[in-house]
Amino acid sequence: MEYTGISAASGYALGPAFLLQDSKIQVVKSEVPKENLNSEILRFEEALGKAAHELEAIKEKTRQTIGAEEAEIFSAHIMVLEDPEYSGAIKELIRAEAWNTEWAIQEVTNRFLGLFASMDNEYIRERAADLRDVSNRLLRHLLGIRSQSLSEITEKVVLFAHDLTPSDTAQLDKDKVVGIVTNIGGRTSHSAIMARSMEIPAVVGMQDLVEKIKAGDFVIVDGSEGKVFVNPTEDLIKSYKGKQTRYEAQRQELKKLVSQPSMTPDGHQVELVANIGNPQDALVAVTNGAEGIGLYRTEFLYMGRQELPSEEEQFEAYKAVAVMFGKEHPVVIRSLDIGGDKALPYLDMPKEMNPFLGYRAIRLCLDRTDIFRTQLRAILRASAYGNIRLMYPMIATLEELKGANKVLETVKQELLAETIPFNKGLEVGMMVEIPAVAVMADRFAKEVDFFSIGTNDLIQYTMAADRTNETVSYLYQPFNLALLRLIRGVIEAAHKAGIRVAMCGEMAGDLTAFPILLGLGLDEFSMSASSILPARALVRQLPWRKAQLIAEAVLEMDNPQEIDVYVKQKMQ
């Protein structure tokens, strides 16, 4: 049987299914005889001690194997465990009501969950999940349910679970768990991100597959295509074993390039950096050999929630990435690019006829300076901890650029007055994604420290074709000569002014576009983490001179199709 879900981590895995039982904890109410109340309380305290001990160990292991950021989840768990009102109320109930410990725990847990449920706040919801996790851990100790079934896996298996909690993933043994399949989740859910950083092929969002499968069923996980095959035919197994071998060999080859420079055989060096949306992505970028972050999309910090993120919250999210990459490697943070196809329900933005041409990104920020200032404060504060650069999206005029810089300046003055440290030499750049700017690049180049060409928008604005509209998708042509000429002009103008040019659209990670862009002299290529190593392999075997000749040739061609065929032929 073949099932389709969402590809969460690429690669192939074959093996018997292991079902992670979502151990349904059944709590029964019973009365404790008066003479046993003291020993019942001791029983509770013993469980508390065991759970705390266990959490400390998991926290330490997570810190070593995954990272400090992830380990903090368990500090929050320990804090719940040490909460005097929580343990106090449980003991109180045992003593006053003569309830068994399990029932008292359930009662107190539900009371707090009830209090939290009425509060509409992302942080509180996370703490509610922590509380549930902690109370289940206590109950498992008391009921003698062996929770750590994950550590009992002795052979190579494909793990099936409804969902994986941070506690689960912290205990995953990469050598035993060769594949992961979960019922819920998407590409950005916790389990998917962890699977990618541990490089375990994974498919998520399988709906109810986990309920249908039996332990020991032989399965194939196709993490690249998001498919799972249960009890497949011999032929299919054979074909997937072949795919797996080729994939592994290729990956091993690429892995050797993680810390190699991105340099052509004739000595021209470029930078291959990653596009990310949150600190967890940054971890994946590091393991894939990113030489920095070329685009930190901050809008994800603002989405999927009910209120604006606070300065503190943003500061932590920016600082975490800056620290991860250190002083050497740049982290380019793009200020809020919301609007267009990305709306924020809590901002109450009016419906527009042409959202892509409307109130978005820097236009919104220059109007809602309260939002902009909070973000700039957070970015500036984080700049004290690494090599952060700031980038404005959707600049159309010099006035907008100057307006944004003016706000930045007042925020800097504010921080100076408060003696809060920040990098006074913070580099400021802008996206080139509006044709008007591409045409006038020479003027803008004098006002910024760097450019980053955003091809996704530059293509749709140059071709006047909505990139979300399928019926005009034929006009979305990265190899249209108009676009290539704009790109060439931007690069020339930047180099003339002595500044660097990056590209952070899909095109930067496209292996066919790569030789052209390299030939045109692009300095930095920012792409999704998984594209970095293949791109590095390409750079290291493509002489710059050859790329320049390719670029020269395609800039004489009229037909995008012709360009595509020509580059592929040249690169064979």
Binding site: E85, Y86, F112, L115, M119, I124, R127, S310, E311, E313
Partner: protein
């Protein structure tokens, strides 16, 4: 001892500020309570504190009782007004 404070942190008393306050309160031997309106909670309890849902610019009364109550009141006050 008791004193009234206005919460300065723009995000109110959630997330990190709440955790810091609980740690600070826990480092003193005396009892520490926070009062918001009619509700009074133990400041050494992260969950009680979160359930109080303290937002920016709200007025909070801090009560300390017992050993080192003056030091505790001052330390908590510094955190709240930071």
């Amino acid at each position: 001892m008791e004193k009234t404070f206005t919460i300065k942190s723009p995000s109110g008393l959630h997330a990190r500020p709440a955790a810091l306050l609980v740690q600070k309160a826990g480092s003193f031997p005396c009892d520490v309570f926070l009062v918001k309106g009619e509700k009074k909670v133990n400041a050494k309890s992260i969950m009680s504190l979160l359930a109080l849902g303290i937002e920016a610019n709200e007025e909070i009364v801090v009560i300390t009782e017992g050993e080192k109550e003056a030091e505790a009141l001052q330390a908590i006050g510094e955190l709240l007004e930071a």
